[in-house]
Subunit: 144 residues, 2 copies
């Protein structure tokens, strides 16, 4: 391989970014669920499977299965055929996610994008924003 040169020490550093993205992804769904459950509880007093399914745009059975996972990792508590509750841990994650989500959305609006786009993009972006970037966004909001 004549054209092969060094890999550079950057390879490992580079891969860290992708590893973080992959880690984000597995947390992402959990965050979306607890955030939505928190909203449902606040808005209407309780969170039901069906509401979560409808809002997420997935089948009921999918929600049930995912809730099982969230129970095993201690974010959610639920009796069969009953409404969904959050554990202390779950509330913590939900509040965190909501704060982050709101900030990103406000930031996008301040940047000049439409409400619609801010809502949609913030949903995707919120999970990939570090504390440092969040802080920079907050600073921008104060300035502008």
């Amino acid at each position: 391989m004549a054209l092969k040169s060094k890999k550079g020490p950057s390879a490992k550093i580079r891969s860290a970014a992708f590893k973080r993205v992959r880690a984000d992804h597995s947390a992402e769904l959990a965050e979306d669920y607890v955030e939505m459950i928190a909203d449902l509880i606040d808005d209407r007093g309780e969170a039901r499977c069906t509401d979560v399914a409808m809002r997420l745009g997935v089948a009921n059975a999918t929600v049930v299965k995912t809730l099982k996972r969230l129970q095993t990792i201690g974010l959610v508590a639920q009796e069969p055929y009953r409404a969904i509750f959050l554990t202390t841990e779950g509330w913590k994650m939900a509040d965190d996610a909501r704060r982050r989500h709101a900030l990103v959305e406000k930031f996008l609006l301040a940047l000049g994008v439409s409400q619609e786009t801010a809502r949609i993009d913030s949903e995707g972006i919120e999970h990939h924003v570090s504390v440092e970037t969040l802080r920079a966004m907050a600073k921008f909001l104060v300035r502008s």
Copy 2:
């Protein structure tokens, strides 16, 4: 259910955001791969399985498997035991991703975050930024 009120027409609209995020995710990996393959080809003349695996931080076998999928959807071309090439379609996607990636990264830097954070966060964010938001970021860069 005494406390159940209307679901609101927002449910379907809301779910659209999550559907987009899910769709983004399945495209995301493809974009990461073609972007990285394009970089490897430009930087060192060819893209090898091992390099992709190392940079992404995954096992070799994982790359092989994913490349199969990318071949079936027409982004990548490869002979067994040979280097990886991009199809015209693949190059289009790679260039698109690279443009988007670079813009997001530059934007984050302009916003005041560190190089390190800009690099990492842009990797996660680039896949979730709409054209409208990208344009707003570009505008911000011109102004600042």
